[in-house]
Structure formats: C-alpha cells, structure tokens
C-alpha cells in the first residue's frame, strides 16, 4: 500500500514540477510571488491589508493571506494548509510552536504594551481620586495599578468617586473591560499584570500562586459579564461611544488611529505603571512562513510600516519614535519608569484565566 502511495505521489510531483515550469515560463516578465497563509491576531488585520504593506511584501516576493482569530483560540483551530500563525504574545506562540514543532527561536517582529483607554472625563475623575495621574493636557497618563486593584477589591463604584456625579455614564462599579482571558491574549495579559501587582510584584509560578490571587482575578473578570473575544471589538465599541468607560487595548490600536490622522480629542491613554507587553510572535508552520517572519523583523520598509500601524519594532526604537512624533500628547514614547510584569508560563497563565472565568 505504502508503495502505491509513493508512486502516486511521485507522479503528482513530476506533474507539479511540469506545471511549475510551464507557469514559470508564462510569468517570466511579471514578479512571481509566493502566497502564504496565516492566522493572525485581529489587531494586525489592518497592517496586513494596508496597500503599502501588500506592496512591500510583494516586492519581496510574498502575497500574504490572513484571517483573524484570538491568540489562544488558535490552538483549537486546524492550521493545516497555513504557513504561519501570528498570535499576539509569546505564551500562545510557544504553545503553538510545540504543537506544530516549529523551531525556536521564533521571529518576534514587533511588540506593544497594554494600555487603558478612557474618555477624558473618566480619566480626570480617576486622577482626582488618586487612581491615576495625568500628564500635560490630559491626553495621556499613568494608571496606578495597586490603587486600582484596591478599588476593585472593595467594589468601589464611580458614584463614590468625587467629581463623577456630573456624568451620566460614570455609574456602576469601577472596572477595566478586557477581552476574554481564555481565548484572547490581551485578557490573559491583563491577568498577568494584575496578579503580579496583587502578589507584591511576584510572578505566579504554580497553582498555589494562582490560588492566592484567584479571588481578586475572579472579581476583575466577573464584574465585566460577557466579554468581547478580541481587543479590536472592545476598542470599536469604545470608539462608537458604547461600552465601559475604561477599556484595555494595545497601545498599537491607539497609535494606529493617530497615525491615520483620526481625531481622538476626548481620549486619554492611561499607561498602567505595571503593565505587560504583547510580543507579536510568528509561529512558522512552513519554510515560507519562517521567511516571512524574518522579513517582517529585518526589512526596514516593513519595520517602518509596522511603526506606522502603531507597533513598536523590536530592537531599534527609531522607527516608532519617528512614526509617533506628532502624537506625544497621547503616547508615551519612552516608557521610562514603567514596570513590565513578567508573564507566567503558558500552563500557569491558562490556569489563572480558567479560575478567573470561574
């Protein structure tokens, strides 16, 4: 039986080569590109559909077809026929790499810290009550994570914050809206940062650690009710004027809007004083997938385009600083003084998310 399959395969391969030769001859004059398919986190969809990105990739011989899925949901998808997966952080990427035996190190072309977006009045009320500080014009500021967690623990409501009474939308429990930590990366990273702060700046290493912060994590998730599956959806609701006053998004989502010249007058970007960063990591499933991942990391043109979409390219900070020069009212380019919470190992983070969802 195996021999027969071998013969059939050989015939198919020869046929394939023949076809390739013919096709190659026909395409002599045009630029032939390889089509690579990938599953990506929703926040990178606009990057890949940007005509300039399509052009830059095509110049390097790639046509990239993508579809979006939550970073953790990628594990449940059948990735046969895809060349790469591009989740929003290292933990789900490592899990996928193991499942599909992708060779380490994985290309990590760019990253973006998690931030909280708020409308100006909500940010001012937080600042007036010691939960945040605002810089300059109030377009950006710092969220004091420890204070915020204390408020959450005590079920503090907006009504009990001074200055909130003038605004109809500022009622109910004070909480940050995140995505579902079981399926989406930003939700899981939120728990990573919150649990790190709650445990006195210690990263959870095992079930016992998870157990210690579990009641608070459960509260942070439980108050939200149903959660959006992706950070894009949560951000869209926010933009349309619907949704909770405080929404966790990637800095990149805001930076990208600003780069497009969109008006965000009334917005404040709050950088948590201890935050987590999403390392957008390519999991190559084929050689083409790996080549694409490496190209995204090294090609100056693509790095500049990534920065224009709000991502921070790995290594040199020049591209991001240049791309966001006009938007420092909202964006904190340097992030000096901000702490980065380490992300627990994949299995630990999963358990944390599961217990938080209850």
């Amino acid at each position: 039986m195996r021999r027969i399959i071998g013969i059939v395969l050989a015939v198919l391969l020869i046929g394939g080569v023949g076809a390739a030769v013919v096709a190659g001859r026909e395409q002599d004059t045009s630029t032939a590109t390889k089509t690579v398919r990938g599953v990506i986190g929703s926040e990178k969809a606009e990057f890949f559909s940007d005509p300039d990105v399509v052009k830059a990739l095509s110049a390097k011989g790639f046509t990239v077809k993508t579809e979006t899925a939550g970073s953790w949901a990628m594990e449940d998808l059948d990735l046969k026929g895809y060349d790469f997966a591009f989740p929003s952080s290292k933990a789900p990427a490592d899990a996928l790499a193991e499942k599909y035996r992708a060779r380490q190190p994985l290309p990590r072309p760019f990253y973006s810290p998690l931030v909280v977006v708020a409308h100006r009045v909500a940010a001012s009320v937080l600042a007036a009550n010691g939960l945040a500080t605002l810089d300059g014009g109030g377009g950006r500021g710092t969220l004091k994570m420890a204070e915020y967690l204390k408020a959450a623990e005590q079920d503090r409501t907006w009504q009990r914050l001074k200055g909130a009474e003038r605004y109809a939308e500022l009622t109910g429990a004070v909480y940050i809206t995140s995505t579902d930590p079981l399926s989406s990366n930003s939700g899981a990273l939120y728990l990573a940062a919150a649990s790190y702060v709650a445990a006195g700046d210690r990263v959870a290493a095992n079930s016992a650690d998870v157990g210690r912060t579990a009641p608070l994590m459960r509260k942070l998730i439980g108050v939200q009710g149903a959660q959006q599956p992706s950070s894009d959806a949560a951000f869209r609701d926010f933009i349309s004027g619907a949704g909770n006053p405080l929404v966790l998004v990637y800095e990149q989502q805001v930076a990208s809007l600003l780069a497009q010249g969109q008006q965000v007058d009334d917005l404040t970007v709050l950088y948590p004083d201890t935050t987590t960063t999403s390392d957008h990591t390519v999991v190559p499933l084929t050689a083409e997938g790996r080549a694409l991942g490496e190209l995204l990391s090294s090609d100056p043109k693509l790095r500049a385009l990534a920065a224009r979409h709000g991502f921070r390219p790995q290594g040199d900070t020049g591209e991001f600083t240049a791309a966001t020069a006009a938007h420092t009212t909202y964006l904190n380019q340097k992030l000096t003084g901000f702490h980065q919470a380490p992300v627990p190992a994949s299995a630990v983070l999963h358990e944390m998310a599961r217990r938080a969802r209850g």
């Binding site: 398919r37 579809e67 998808l77 998730i221 609701d237 349309s240 004027g241 619907a242 949704g243 209850g358």
Partner: protein, 519 residues
Amino acid sequence: MRLRRRVRPRVGAGALTVAAVLLGSGCTSSAETEDPGAPRPGTLRVLASSELVDMEPVLDQVEERTGIKIRPTYMGTLDAVSLLAKNTTDGRYDALWLSSNDYLHLRPDAARKVVSETPVMTSPVAIGVKTTTVRRLGWKPQEVTWSQVEQAVRDGRLTYGMTDPARSNSGFSALISVASGLSGAQSALTEADVAKATPRLKEFFKGQKLTSGSSGWLAAAYGRRGTVDALINYESMLTPMKDLTVIRPRDGVVTADYPLTSLAATGQDTRDTVRRVADALRTPEIQDEITRSTFRRPVVTSVPPSDALDTGRRRELPFPGSRSVADGLLDSYENKLRRPSRTVYVLDTSGSMEGDRIERLKAALADLTGDFRDREEVTLMPFGSDVKSVRTHVVDPADPRAGLDAIRGDTDALSADGDTAIFTSLQKAYGHLGTGPDTFTSIVLMTDGENTAGAKASEFDDFYQGLPAAQREIPVFPILFGDSDRDELEHIAELTGGRLFDAQKGSLDGAFEEIRGYQ
C-alpha cells in the same frame, strides 16, 4: 430556581420560510422552489438578525465596491445561536451577522463554531416614548432612568411594547437593562440581583401591552394599535419613527454591535470573502452611509454619528457573563414576570385532514405543549362544519403537568371529519375570549383548505368591525397548511393585525413555534 421548561428557542424550517415571506412577498414561484441554501459563487449566505433588513441598500453599495453579493436569511438572534450550536448552519451559511454575539459566547457549543468577529456598527436598546406622553409625564429625556419608567408603569401612566426576549436580542437586552436598573446591580448581573429585582420587574412588565417575535412586526403593531405609549427597541429603529422621543435611560443601556462573523465550518476562501466585506463595511464612506440611512452609530472615529443621534454617553450595562444567569433571567421572564398569554387554537379537523395531515397536526401540537409557559391559558377549538368542542386549560405553576397532560389528552382525541367553517369558528373564538383578564390574547388559526361552510369572509369582516375596540386588538395568526388559500388567510391576518405563517414550505411545528414569539 426551577428550570423545568428551559426556554429553548427552537427553529425549524418554519423560521426560514417566514423570513422568505417577509422578504420576497413579490417573488415568483420559481424563486420560491429554488433552494435558498444552495451556495452560489460570488455571494455570501449570511444568517442575519431580522432588523438588518434595513441594511439592504448599504449592502448594494458593498456589492458595487467588492463584487460580493450578500444573501441574508433573517432570524431572531437567539434562534440563530441555537441553530449554530446544533450544526444546522454548516454548509448552509457562510457567515453570521447578529445584533450581538454576547449570548453566543455563553454557549461553548456555538462559540467554538465562529472564527473571527468584526463589529460593524452599534445601536443601544432604548425606549421610544410618544412625545405627548413625555410631556404629560413631565420627563426630561436626558434624565429618565429605568426606575422612572417603572414608576410610570406602576402609576398606570405608561404602557409599552417590546420583543420576546427568548427570541430577539432587543427584547433580551431590554430585559437585562431593566433587571440591572431595578436591582441596582453595580456590575454584571448575578442570580441574586435577579431575585432581588423580581417584584419590581413584575410591576414593570405589567406595562408591556405588545409582544412580538420580531422588531419589524412590533413597530407595525404599535402603529396600528395606537393606544400604546412607548416601544422598547434599538435606537436605530426608534429614531426614524414619527412623534417618538428616543430615551436612552440614564442608568444604562445594552448596546448591539453587529459583528460580522466568519464560521469555522467554512473554507479559507469564504472567510477571506467575509473579511473583505467587513473591510468594506468599515470604510468611512460606508460607515457614513450606515449612520445616515439606518441611524446606527459608526465604529470608526473619522465618521460622526448621524445628526439625529444624541452623542451624550451612557453607561454600558454588562451582559451576563454566565449562561445560568442569562437563561435564569429568560426563564423567570417567561414563567413569572411577563403577563401570561391566553390563546385560542382554532384547528381545522375537517375531512380533508384525515390521515397524514391530522397526524402531523397532533405531533406538532404535542411538541408545542412542552413550550407552554406557567400561567398560560390554552383553548383548543377544533372545527369542521362548525366548532366541535371548546376545551380550555391553564398551566398552573403549582402543578404545570396537570394542565399540559390535559392538553395532550385533548390533542390525542382530535379526529377528522366535516366541512371547513373557518369564519364561523373564528367568530366563536372571539366570542370565547370576550374581554377577559389582563393577558397577551391571540388566536391561532390552522387550516388546510378554503372556507366551505358557515359564515363567509365578508360576514366575518362585518363581525370584526362590530367588535368592541378591546376585542379588535386580538390578532389572528393564520397558518398556511395543506391546500389552504393564501389570499383568504392573508386577509384575516391583515384585518386583525396578525401575521401569516407558512407551513406549506416549512413545517407545522416550525410555524407553531415561530408564533410563540407573538403570544
């Protein structure tokens, strides 16, 4: 909490055909026989929430830009989620476009069937109150809370219509808003919040005078009735209505965000097509068209919402995070909170029903019986040359089984003989109902043929016009079955403010089930 009869939105082919009737009243018989589920290149078969029918002009523009044609099949949100969970959508639909995926995410069996979700526009569920009523109540629209609405209902100064929360997302969102508002919950609803709010919710729902399986029919019934003061519906549906003041209660709203959703059971190319449509829908030009023509709110910052929409912000009330809370709330709405329903089933058991047809009727009724709610009054009125018997049963919350068993017994005893006296039987149904207690009252008419005995159509028209106003509010929901005459039944639906359901193309139990949303 007792979940004896879990609310289970079931959908048979009936739902599909009703949608088809709604859409293509002018379509030819050849189009009707074509399988609407068959795939066609360059088109996307989309299972969509019924109110999205107003997006068709926008979708034409999307087609111009992308070359992709959207073929929607309209259905209530919760029904669509059930369908998805049961694999019934596989191979029949390329994408999902519901008011909200919140309920979908509470059901793992449905949630695992979707791949990517792209919110396209938003609309909060609001209450539209007649401008004269707003004045009479002395309300400042910006200041009104759900508690004030409840107070007005309690004082007998406000009545309203809303869709059935077990079928329609607008009704469900309204239920969540009101439960949050009246329980004082500061975060996502819990079972304790619902229990606490129950007495006030009961008062609130005494004011609900209209129910509907779809928001379109609700608006029509509201216009016809004329005596209802308000409608709870999407802001987008209320905004263009005349003489209504749209109020987004100050204590919070639940907002639909219309995610265009691709499905795991489809291929990569299909999902790619879905993404292209989503991209097109989010371009500034289309977003602008959406907000100007449908009064939904844009999801891109460069496009301001329509001038007709108030830009003041509202708290977003969280959707329950667990299925037990969501289903518990639905269950108490159906069995405790809402006004009970009172229905006469006028059932054709004439000679032509002999054999397969009567068996199908019995099976459909047996199936339906499991769905009757606590406190519901059901009258079976089988007819042939005249009404054969009138049997009324009430589902007593203390012993629901007794009533249900009695209905089953009567159903079993049905037998086929005689002519078809449709109009005489309808007159008797109105007579039976009289001006009864405060309920959602309606008549379901199932017939497999034309009127052959008793009163004529014109006599029934006169009879109906001579009824007292309160009785004229009782709608007849006719079911097209066997060889019944579409025009004759359409006329009855129109005259009485009901709606025609089609069990010729769909199934009889599907039609009975669909009508539940209107009872």
